[in-house]
Symmetry: C2
Amino acid sequence: MEDFLKKTKKSSRIAATLESKLKKTLLNEMADALSEKKDLIKKANRIDLKNGEENNLSKALMDRLLLNDERIEAMAKSLKEIAALKEPVGRVLEGWVVDSGLRIEKVSIPIGVIAIIYESRPNVTADAAALCLKSGNVAILKGGKEAEHSNKAIASILQEILLKHNLPKEIISLLPDSSREAVGKLIKMDKYVDLIIPRGGEGLIKYVSQNATVPVVKHDKGLCHTYIDKDADFEKAIAIAINAKVQRPGVCNAMETLLVHEEIASDILPMLLYEFEQYDTYLKGCEKTRKIINVDEALEEDFETEYLDNILSIKVVDSLKEAIDHISKYGSGHSEAIITENYTTAERFLNEVDAAAVYVNASTRFTDGGEFGFGAEVGISTNKLHARGPMGINDLTTYKYKIYGKGQIR
Amino acid sequence: MEDFLKKTKKSSRIAATLESKLKKTLLNEMADALSEKKDLIKKANRIDLKNGEENNLSKALMDRLLLNDERIEAMAKSLKEIAALKEPVGRVLEGWVVDSGLRIEKVSIPIGVIAIIYESRPNVTADAAALCLKSGNVAILKGGKEAEHSNKAIASILQEILLKHNLPKEIISLLPDSSREAVGKLIKMDKYVDLIIPRGGEGLIKYVSQNATVPVVKHDKGLCHTYIDKDADFEKAIAIAINAKVQRPGVCNAMETLLVHEEIASDILPMLLYEFEQYDTYLKGCEKTRKIINVDEALEEDFETEYLDNILSIKVVDSLKEAIDHISKYGSGHSEAIITENYTTAERFLNEVDAAAVYVNASTRFTDGGEFGFGAEVGISTNKLHARGPMGINDLTTYKYKIYGKGQIR
């Protein structure tokens, strides 16, 4: 393991100084190679599928594992899109001149070696490798055991392009040993690895966060709220509540709990009940809610649950303060929304709610790299430091200070 | 411990929304209170000094512990300076409108609860508390056992001002239990603590980095190099080398190793020897160096050592590449400088050397919050993520996205 990491660390100096134009060429050639070598990928994928069947993987997991022509073309297209993104390295973030006459520039640079730990979907292999390459980083990829052959096939196609250009293939590496113990070792290798991004189940993320000495950017759960204020426009409120819950209930930026101000509860709750019935949403409510509409009881644990399903907890609150307190207690710091026409209420909500993304009069579903205009997305960080919310390629950079002198001493 | 942390966490919501004007008032009143209650502080300090004597603290440590009128006034003055800094919370870092018509603002916000672990100097108590307060954060302060009474006296004077304004005193907290076990517990409390800043010896920093689940920003060692290129202006080179080594050898941004291009070595090394002799600097050199000037031998371990003393290792290199390779192998990523008049060489050095601060034709001694124009300094980060290099109060903030909609759904 240490030998492998030494090589990746060494190749990170080369990755960091690749010219923008060359990085584009590499990524476009990688995209073409994936298209051309579809059959090779599908052949490897069939082995994974066969093993998956033998191991009785669920239908959902089998579907995530499957690579067909269409999915391979999508993977290639994504690489071309990443190639076309604006160069993330070398942006001058700030610049100024100080009393001593030194000129200081704060400039974006690659982070170095980034390890990405993920599960099932093999397309992440290509995407993560491309995002790291575009931002001048070395990628260490650790996919799921169940996608082993597919990931290897994809990685070796990408590595061939690196070798063709006389670059070390370690710029895109698969972790050679994919056992649990290897991961346990990897996350403590702060001498060689600069950042770990775990993407997957709660267990994986918790394990990595609790045990890593390498910095971790988590892509964790989202327990998102929408608060319908007493000064809400009902039409907006209903459309947004429906959208936030039902458009795609299985994702982290979907709403899990709806908060409603008691002054308008008896007017709007029946309308919401009617609308949610059209989508077969299973509603649960607090005591006050259940005095107005006939729904099952929402218990304390419901307010703590990320359903990732077409289920919604409803709570009637007596004030903005109670809404913010509830969010502060149960929210996961991901995305929170208020629906109101009242300026002062909106301002208070925006300022006092602590989350990566706080919305006025919009659906929490917009917390997404694409919707934010970042292009391809590395993930949605639930960290409070380094990167918060949707992560684009700029979030795979850090900075250094370049200081231009003319002989200054202190 | 958990009860205490719950209270600090709760008070962080109040600290985060303090108005800029009130924060200034608080800090100025705290400064005045320190001046007025000098005798109280000196009385507490005398207990620490007495205990220090009994425990045979070194003369240097006793001096760091001592608080006299002058030092207390300096502490008060520092608080007034922090009060006058530009408001770090609420800066709009970026802002744009996306395809859906949403208006997105990336806005700086406080980090939350920051624990600062430090040793001896009691003035850090006031400084760290003030920097956290100014940036809307709650400070948990853990000073050294040897300064216990002084720290308590200072903290209680600051807390009185909070209470006078009906604010929770937990906004500035001393860790109630200052045992080693308590620190071990604290650094795993990621539920309540958002950031830990250890300032002190290598042992402390290593222990915290290896064991914390809370994010850590380290204020670690500096093994800084100056490289005199073959195209250097000798006058600048000599002035900068002397300054970087002797002006204050005991600090992290002082030079530890001097690299000299072999083409000019036989010309400049005798001049450097003459100059360094004026300052009684103890010089050690590589084999090539010792063929030119008569100095002791620099061993492998010398190039790995942060002397923090008036000692300098010298190495003759055959190229820019060898200089960069040496820095990459031995440097601590703190501050690195090149002396050259050659544009292309300077550019390569600036781009290829990975350090928080890279200099052309200036002394590494400038890596400092004050010299960077940040005002008071939280420390100098040797992290690669979140904050790098000199940390001002802006580095005690993170960000959130505020998103302004008019009913948008996906």
